[in-house]
């Protein structure tokens, strides 16, 4: 997911030419300002329509979520902000996803419409409250005029507008009148003591549908009359191209309508999903691998390790680190490597498109609508305003749907053009990715190598901390380069390390970029997925070298970071850090800041008879600023822990001669029920602005468990996942 941005993307000029480089993986010049019709244009009689909130005559309050909800609870969270300021009843609130419109719905931290970097609440907190407050002011103004009473005497509570004279009305009854009121420029917001929903656990709006298997929720379930379903045979090696293919056998499958070559492979188009899958399995394709990645992952890891042994691009340079290391009494050395990771969302990638030659409509879990929108227009060769995106609920993402190159959009647009060129009648078409397509399809958490050299004085105090990292950059060469890279440095790769609050007297950090055709992407917590592991296991080692308790040592070293110290103390206290453990139990701790939030986790482990580790319990403390929905915060930390734990225990994507080995959940074994520890989450009360919660629970779990294993075994695992050792 996207890094928290320092500055929004500067509006670039649209350029058709740059979009046509989609197949080469380069996109630029996003269209950010278009004269789109305002969301209110289609308002029905008697309806109140503002960009973020509609109030219907039937008394429904519809909040428009500009952010994709892929399980993190954002749509309900944003609705809460509006409902609270509007004083609506929670029962009357519904949520829809906003249309793609960068003018109205940009993420204020990105400058484009998009979800990621755990920014949804942070960038919307004031915006959605203001929208609710403005709506309430307009409702009150309308009531005052209608009733002939002063606005100051009107109250709104639980969706009912009332006056001491006995007059009262619902929000829905006043919606039409309020629509004509002027939108206040600076609506008065509630003070925290006036909040009725914010800070309290309340039911999410999507839970019922998801409990009853309601139709139309996900892209996979998308239906239309005459819908065609396509699968695409893509190169087994990244960067490979179709040399030739034979569709003879595929075309014989009943239900297969056509087989067409598209920009990145061969598409089998069928009347339904099964023939599309079966037909594809019968294709015979010769691939041209002349420009493809043909290395094995072992060779790529070896290359990364060599890169970390050389000076790289300076990310942080406090001083002459080699001299300081030479002058130290001892040097601790550690070399880490991390594998490619697939996101493995439960809903494989999917997307639907209807293109009639002049305009296009898409249905999918769009995570960066502005890029998706631009790419659709560019590849289809139609104006931006002729494209409509319908964002649907996503069955997970963990970063996978936030592509900088919008490759699923480019692919389905390429398919629509091929269908048109083949003389097929315009029809809605859905591309379904099988699990194998999704898992072997790249866009992985980058593999990386980390080389650490720490100088200690005679007493065991750190004198110098040298950190070299090498990986493929996620942002280099993408539209995000301009905003996420500064002076040639990719801080996405080093976040959580170069900016550590551990008080080292001297720290230098270098980075190097691996070149490979394997596409990489943000994976729940991005750079923190590896830097937190390195930093937090190293700190444990350094505590041991200094002869100090891991919690006490960390508190000494983060003395200037009170919020971090606070969550660490809270987690330690709740976990009973100072109390003895039962026989056969071991504990480890980690604390990390990511996406503006602080999370400490204490993991308690045991070992089964065969020597494998079982994580019994995790006690977490989190400070994410003002808590909006405490139960959702707990859910995200529980889930973030489970997601990180599965990866650290046994997940890796490896290549043999460029071909992915792990293609489904049998070989990329996810965390399962029997692996899930008991999780206890404690939330720090705070009045600070809200910060991220979708990702910050993930980084500390790996090192917390590694530190618990080290407490038992005396050694820290440095080559991931743990299944490479004997403990899993």
């Amino acid at each position: 997911m996207l890094h928290m941005l320092q500055k929004p993307l500067e509006a670039a000029q649209p350029s058709r030419r740059t979009f046509l480089k989609v197949s080469a993986g380069t996109i630029g010049g996003l269209v950010l300002a278009m004269n789109l019709p305002r969301a209110a244009a289609s308002a029905a009689e008697g309806e109140f329509t503002q960009p973020f909130v509609h109030i219907r005559p039937d008394n429904t309050v519809v909040v428009l979520s500009k952010h994709l909800d892929k399980g993190q609870g954002t749509a309900s969270g944003l609705s809460t902000l509006v409902a609270d300021e509007l004083d609506a009843s929670w029962d009357q609130v519904r949520v829809d996803f906003a249309p793609s419109n960068p003018q109205l719905y940009a993420n204020t931290m990105f400058g484009v419409q998009g979800t990621g970097g755990s920014t949804a609440m942070a960038n919307s907190f004031m915006q959605y409250r203001q929208a609710g407050a403005a709506a309430k002011a307009m409702i009150v103004a309308a009531a005052a005029k209608d009733w002939g009473v002063p606005a100051s005497e009107i109250t709104v509570s639980g969706g009912v507008v009332s006056h001491g004279s006995g007059k009262s009305a619902t929000l829905g009854e006043l919606a039409g009148l309020a629509a004509g009121e002027e939108v206040p420029a600076e609506p008065v917001l509630k003070t925290p003591d006036q909040w009725v929903y914010i800070g309290k656990s309340f039911p999410r709006l999507d839970v019922k549908n998801k409990t009853f298997g309601a139709p139309g929720t996900y892209t996979m379930d998308f239906q239309r009359d005459g819908l065609l379903v396509a699968t695409v045979a893509r190169s087994p090696r990244f960067g490979g191209k179709v040399a030739s293919f034979d569709a003879g056998e595929a075309m014989k499958v009943p239900g297969v309508v056509n087989v067409l070559q598209i920009a990145n492979g061969v598409a089998v188009i069928a009347e339904s999903t099964w023939p599309a899958i079966k037909g594809r399995s019968l294709l015979e394709i010769e691939w041209d691998d002349s420009e493809a990645e043909t290395r094995s992952s072992d060779a790529m890891i070896a290359e990364l390790k060599e890169m970390t042994a050389q000076p790289g691009i300076k990310v942080r340079e406090d001083g002459d680190i080699d001299a300081a290391l030479d002058a130290s009494a001892r040097v601790i050395e550690a070399d880490f490597d991390f594998p490619f990771l697939a996101h493995g969302a439960m809903e494989p990638l999917d997307i639907a498109l209807y293109f009639d030659g002049e305009s296009a409509e898409l249905w999918f879990g769009s995570q960066i609508q502005t890029i998706d929108h631009n790419v659709a227009a560019a590849v289809l060769g139609i104006p931006f305003q002729n494209v409509k995106i319908n964002t649907l609920w996503a069955g997970g993402s963990f970063g996978r749907r936030a592509q900088a190159d919008a490759h699923p959009v480019a692919e389905i647009a390429s398919l629509a053009k091929a269908m048109q060129a083949a003389g097929m009648a315009a029809a809605p078409v859905k591309i379904v990715w099988t699990r194998e397509d999704d898992m072997a399809g790249g866009y992985y958490r980058p593999m990386s190598a980390h080389r650490i050299r720490v100088g200690l004085d005679a007493a065991g105090n750190v004198t110098a901390f040298k950190y070299n990292i090498a990986a493929k950059s996620i942002v280099k060469g993408t539209p995000f380069e301009a905003m996420l890279m500064k002076d040639g440095v990719d801080h996405n790769m080093t976040e959580g390390a170069h900016d550590t609050s551990y008080a080292f007297p001297l720290m230098n950090m270098d980075q190097a970029y691996q070149e490979t055709q394997v596409p990489v992407l943000w994976w729940r917590s991005v750079g923190h997925t590896h830097t937190a592991y390195v930093m937090e296991t190293m700190i444990d080692r350094l505590a041991k070298e200094a002869g100090k308790d891991p919690v006490a040592y960390r508190l000494e070293m983060i003395r200037d970071d009170p919020r971090k110290a606070n969550v660490l103390k809270l987690a330690a206290e709740k976990a009973g850090w100072d109390k003895p453990l039962a026989d056969g139990r071991f504990r480890g701790v980690a604390v990390h800041k990511s996406f503006g939030s602080y999370v400490a986790e204490v993991a308690e482990v045991s070992f089964r008879d065969d020597g494998t580790v079982k994580v019994e319990k995790v006690t977490a403390a989190v400070d994410c600023g003002t808590p909006i929905n405490p139960d959702n915060i707990v859910a995200q930390v529980e889930g973030g822990i489970g997601y990180g734990l599965g990866a650290i225990l046994r997940n890796q994507v490896t290549l043999v001669d460029g071909v992915v080995e792990e293609t489904n959940f049998d070989t990329y074994e996810p965390l399962r029920m029997s692996d899930m520890p008991e999780v206890e989450v404690h939330i720090v009360a705070s009045n600070e602005p809200p910060t991220g919660i979708g990702e910050p629970g993930t980084p500390p779990i790996g090192p917390a468990v590694a530190n618990a294993i080290a407490a038992a075994k005396g050694d820290w695992i440095t080559s991931l996942p743990f299944s490479r050792t004997g403990v899993v």
Partner: protein
């Protein structure tokens, strides 16, 4: 070929490739999309339905083998156990992305129909085949215990 079977209590005749997995017949032919496609190899449980009351993976069950079978999907469950499970699921806000939850609920319902008071070990055994990438497992476990209490009470 055509296969006649009962789906959610109704007799249906499917005109399908006998190799076609039940999953796709349900989703594409009958538009019962509550049953989800997750892996296609019976490794994730998202496609779980009941065959004569027992949980099965519809992605690995060929339509051709189902003549006369009774299939129940998430759209059709209405037993006491199902009601308790779906009530508990909502009370504890189990779903996050929600995509696996139809399968989780079908597996949990089958468990509680067999074992009214499951232990944690029973839950591990019955639910280990159902993957949730959002890792809602802790809440699923709590919700199964809660549903069990509801059935008793």
């Amino acid at each position: 070929m055509s296969v006649t079977l009962k789906i959610n209590g109704e007799t249906r005749t499917l005109d399908a490739d006998p190799d076609s997995p039940l999953l796709w017949a349900l989703r594409d032919e009958l538009k019962l999309t509550g049953t989800k496609f997750g892996c296609g190899i019976a490794a994730c449980g998202a496609c779980t339905v009941h065959l004569d009351g027992m949980p099965i993976r519809s992605c690995q069950t060929s339509v051709g083998d189902l003549e006369g079978a009774e299939i129940t999907t998430i759209e059709g469950i209405d037993s006491k156990a199902a009601e308790a499970v779906q009530t508990a699921w909502q009370e504890l806000e189990v779903p996050q992305c929600g995509y696996c939850q139809s399968g989780q609920i079908m597996a949990a319902t089958a468990l509680l129909s067999e074992t009214q008071k499951p232990t944690d070990e029973d839950i591990d055994a019955a639910m280990d085949g159902n993957v949730c990438r959002c890792a809602t497992y802790a809440r699923i476990r709590k919700a199964i215990h809660l549903a069990s209490d509801k059935m008793e009470g």
